[in-house]
């Protein structure tokens, strides 16, 4: 799992690639916790490079999502691969999270300036 964190205005963008499982999810949790601890208002997670995700990955996003809600922040997941989307669907979480088809649309939802 590779995690690249960048900023685009007030949006923190996490670009993930590789596989997200019980072994790799602690690293993602650490990055997301850093952002939620400082109450980052807008977090965009680009999942286009994630070919595999298990319940550990889902749990990591659920935890971050709950934290952002507590301080009225927003967490948007973008560009899910079919396999990852399928995992969200089995968990019935595709209707709970904000999910955008592309990174550009996610940025638009977060009010990014062109």
């Amino acid at each position: 799992m590779n995690i690249n964190v960048t900023s685009r205005g007030d949006i923190h963008v996490l670009e993930l690639s590789g596989e997200l499982d019980y072994h790799s999810s602690p690293e993602l949790r650490e990055k997301l916790t850093e952002l939620t601890a400082k109450q980052a208002p807008k977090i965009l997670v680009n999942l286009s490079g994630v070919e595999y995700m298990d319940s550990s990955g889902i749990a990591t996003f659920v935890e971050a999502f709950q934290k952002t809600k507590r301080y009225q922040g927003r967490l948007i997941l973008a560009a899910l691969t079919a396999t990852v989307r399928g995992v969200f669907e089995i968990a019935k979480l595709d209707s709970i999270f904000e999910i955008a088809p592309t990174v550009a649309e996610a940025a638009g939802l977060l009010g990014a300036r062109a």
């Binding site: 019980y22 298990d54 319940s55 749990a59 995992v87 089995i90 968990a91």
Partner: protein, 131 residues
Amino acid sequence: MEKRFELIATSEVLSPLRKELRQLLTSAGWEKKTVEEVLLVVDEALTNIIRHAYQGQSGKMTVDVNISDDKIEIVLEDQGIKFDPTQVPSPELPRQKPGGLGIHFIRTIMDQVIYEGDKVEGNRLRLVKHK
């Protein structure tokens, strides 16, 4: 086609096992969606062994895979603390708290989930997926 994987109970083995299992199932002609779902199930079951049966301590686990044209059968065994995942209540969905989804994935994806812990010293879980 039958294959046995003998593994150390640590999270580092999960990714290499998935890679090998993906190749086996794909070369046996199973479609990508089913392959990925079965990989998820094996991953979740092994994660349960690492977390609950061995509780982070070292131990061994085996995965026996039997693949035919119309059925995938997987048997997982460990020598850890007794843990019967079939007795864990189903979570209420959508679950808005972290955790508790692994067993839901196993039950939802597989056609049969049979715990045979009474037949071994530790745990044995038999998982079957039909085409």
